[in-house]
């Protein structure tokens, strides 16, 4: 019995240490959460454009690639070609003005565009992250967010 007291004291100390460490960890997480909330609230407010059509950046469009559509190339195939070539603004212009493209086909192209745009090194050229907006008869439809970052002055 008497020999178990030092063991019990040792266990209590360990437990106290564990509780103390847990408290500081929770404190750090809480401070981090408040910091993140403060940072998000103070982030730059995006400038919203009236419509997606006005988010187009003509300077970024590849002229020869875009003109292939006027020469008879199907729009959807051309959009995929543009995305594969890294000409995302060209692909965006094609998809934006293709009135017949709906549903899963449009969603698939938007998804590819979104992946490409996220990989861009210095922000976007007027088109940022996609949001879901149901339009298509058979499923969700991805429509681009109309946010135009105020800091994007490169183009």
């Amino acid at each position: 019995m008497a020999s178990s007291r030092p063991v019990v004291r040792q266990r209590r100390k360990r437990l106290e240490l564990l509780l103390l460490l847990s408290f500081f960890l929770c404190l750090l997480i809480g401070i981090g959460a408040f910091g993140a909330l403060w940072w998000l609230r103070n982030a730059d407010t995006p400038v919203l454009l009236p419509s997606l059509r006005q988010s187009l950046q003509p300077v970024q469009i590849s002229r020869p690639l875009a003109l292939h559509q006027l020469s008879g190339d199907p729009a959807e195939a051309l959009a995929y070609q543009a995305i594969a070539a890294g000409e995302l603004d060209t692909a965006y212009a094609i998809v934006l003005y293709d009135t017949a493209l709906t549903g899963g086909r449009r969603a698939a192209l938007y998804q590819k565009l979104a992946v490409g745009l996220r990989r861009r090194p210095n922000g976007t050229a007027g088109v940022s992250q996609p949001r879901y907006a149901g339009d298509c008869p058979s499923g969700p439809h991805l429509a681009d967010q109309r946010a135009h970052p105020a800091a994007d002055t490169e183009h």
Partner: protein, 234 residues
């Protein structure tokens, strides 16, 4: 949401069928010729632009492509003239509603192309005349879309079952909402379309076809627009 293993989607996918009601009309031979000429002119311009890829100075580049660009402009204007004529002729000829639907869709696609050209959607100034009249072109696009809405509503009302009518009405409204979001249905308030969509989706649910993915107009979203509806909150 769709990948959530705990989420059991119990609704149905919206059946498509509205745009299958269009009955394409054979185009006039002169329009086919005009379209072919425009495509050839575009190919020539692409070849010229590719050949001048080394030119850094914009003024020299513009001078270099001037002839091919002018040719393309002329073919576009000629094709536009013929397409307008074809559209006007539909009022004078005895064609079915399904054929009118097809013709309007075709002209709307052309109208959207003109808006794209006027907005420098091909990367540079292609037809200055259309750029100067962009507002008029947008107005024309809005008018054509409204006419398409009217004709499609008439086609919908001719369907046999109420379920088919309800499904096509939802399909039509979703398509119009998409056009509005893209900026290709100018001056059409999205919240109005959102209200119509809400009623149409409710009507479809009453026919025993509750949609798996309902949409609604979310005025609190940034920016406000059509969003997928959380099925747990109605």
């Amino acid at each position: 949401m769709l990948r959530n293993p705990f989420f059991a989607n119990t609704g149905a996918a919206l059946p498509t069928g509205l745009f299958m009601l269009s009955d394409p009309v054979e185009t006039a031979p002169e329009l086919d010729v005009a379209t072919a000429r425009r495509q050839l002119a575009a190919q020539a311009l692409v070849a010229r632009i590719t050949a001048l890829a080394y030119v850094q100075n914009e003024a020299d580049f513009q001078a270099g492509i001037a002839a091919e660009q002018q040719e393309l402009i002329q073919t576009l204007l000629a094709e536009d003239q013929l397409r307008r004529l074809a559209l006007e002729n539909t009022a004078n000829t005895d064609i079915s509603l399904n054929q009118q639907f097809a013709i309007l869709q075709e002209y709307r696609n052309w109208s959207a192309l003109k808006v794209r050209i006027s907005s420098l959607g091909f990367g540079f100034s292609l037809v200055p005349e259309w750029e100067a009249n962009r507002d008029a072109l947008l107005q024309e696009l809005a008018t054509i879309t409204r006419n398409l809405d009217t004709i499609s509503e008439e086609l919908i009302n001719r369907q046999e079952t109420d379920a088919d009518k309800a499904a096509m009405r939802v399909e039509k409204l979703m398509w119009l909402a998409l056009q509005s979001e893209l900026g290709l249905y100018p001056n059409q308030p999205l919240d109005e379309l959102g209200n119509q969509l809400r009623f149409a989706q409710d009507a479809l649910a009453e026919q025993g076809v509750p949609l798996a993915l309902r949409v609604l107009f979310d005025s609190t979203a940034t920016p406000p627009g059509i969003r997928l509806q959380d099925n747990n909150v109605r």
